[in-house]
């Protein structure tokens, strides 16, 4: 599964609701969470919800991205699109027993 495509498609969907100056870039280095993120809390939660819905469409299973475990990492998996992709791939591999 192309997780990066899912993330970029999710960005497209999120950007539909954002003003032009707030739209986020489809780039692996885009900061999602923390300093220099262009998203506020509401945008972040909406973004994660969109990703979870798209992953469910692709896999047929609901994958919770933002949970206790994700928050327990010293380096947040939500920091950039790239770290988020790595984290989601890890979750999917675990789900498939890889």
């Amino acid at each position: 599964m192309d997780v990066l495509k899912i993330l970029f498609d999710s960005i497209d969907e999120l950007n539909l609701d954002l003003d032009s100056e707030e739209k986020i870039l489809k780039d692996e280095n885009t900061v999602v969470f923390g300093e220099n993120s262009g998203l506020d809390s509401i945008g972040l939660v909406n973004f994660i919800t969109i990703i979870e819905e798209r992953l469910e469409e692709e896999t047929g299973h609901f994958v919770t991205i933002a949970d206790e475990r994700a928050l327990s990492f010293e380096d947040s998996p939500f920091k950039t699109i790239s770290t988020l992709r790595n984290y989601i791939e890890m979750l999917l591999n675990e789900q498939q027993g890889v």
Binding site: E35, S37, S41, L44, V45, D67, L71
Partner: protein, 213 residues
């Protein structure tokens, strides 16, 4: 270390409070809503209404906010209340949001109505706003514990609360009940749940508090 004196809610509604970053610089000012600002309520009710509607998905009870409804809530439920504090957050004289405490008793308080409505100030401004409000609760109201109640999908808030020392106290499944103009997330059994996220109660005691400054 200066000895902190116990203050009451009405006393805390009297004065502005500085929010300082780790280095001690003032990064925002908290202005309490009190009877002195009654005549100004209509000025800030309009932006607050916009913010409330935008953030309504984070609240357990939802409705379409209107300026009139916000004014009524401020005048009747917030300003006169002796168990509630709501601070407007100003960065360089610009109103950017609000944050408060509710259900204040001699024993405990609850974080309430945290909304960053506008951009402005440091990206971690709200970290220090919450830090300041927790210090007020522990050092001046002298409560023993502070509760935070939020949806489990609100991970930015959850992350902040946990960094400040909150721990999870309970977690409940939720059922969304809607009518035409209002909606409510009701705590329910796992079988009745119809949304993916849960309602979480966090608790912070004085001993667990990890202030940022």
């Amino acid at each position: 270390m200066p000895q902190c004196v116990h203050k009451t809610v009405p006393e805390l509604k009297e004065d502005n409070i500085d929010v300082r970053c780790k280095e001690g610089k003032i990064i925002a000012v908290l202005k309490p809503l009190n009877t002195k600002v009654l005549s100004l309520v209509e000025d800030f009710a309009a932006p607050m209404t916009v913010w409330r509607n935008k953030a309504m998905g984070f609240f357990k009870t939802g409705f379409i906010a209107t300026t009139e409804r916000t004014i009524s809530w401020l005048k009747n439920s917030v300003i006169p209340a002796d168990n509630k504090l709501l601070f407007l957050i100003y960065v360089e004289d610009n109103l950017i949001g609000h944050f408060g405490l509710c259900n204040i008793t001699s024993e405990s308080a609850e974080l309430d109505n945290a909304i960053r409505g506008e951009k402005g100030g440091k990206s971690d401004l709200f970290d220090y706003v919450e830090n300041t409000i927790l210090k007020i609760a522990f050092d001046e109201l002298k409560v023993r514990c502070i509760y935070g109640r939020l949806f489990s999908n609100n991970f930015p808030a959850m992350s902040l609360h946990k960094r400040l020392g909150f721990i999870e106290n309970s977690r409940s499944p939720l059922k969304l009940v809607k009518n035409q103009t209002e909606w409510e997330y009701i705590e329910c059994s796992p079988e009745e749940a119809n949304v993916r996220f849960q309602y979480i109660e966090l608790i912070l005691t004085r001993d667990n508090f990890k202030p940022f400054n």
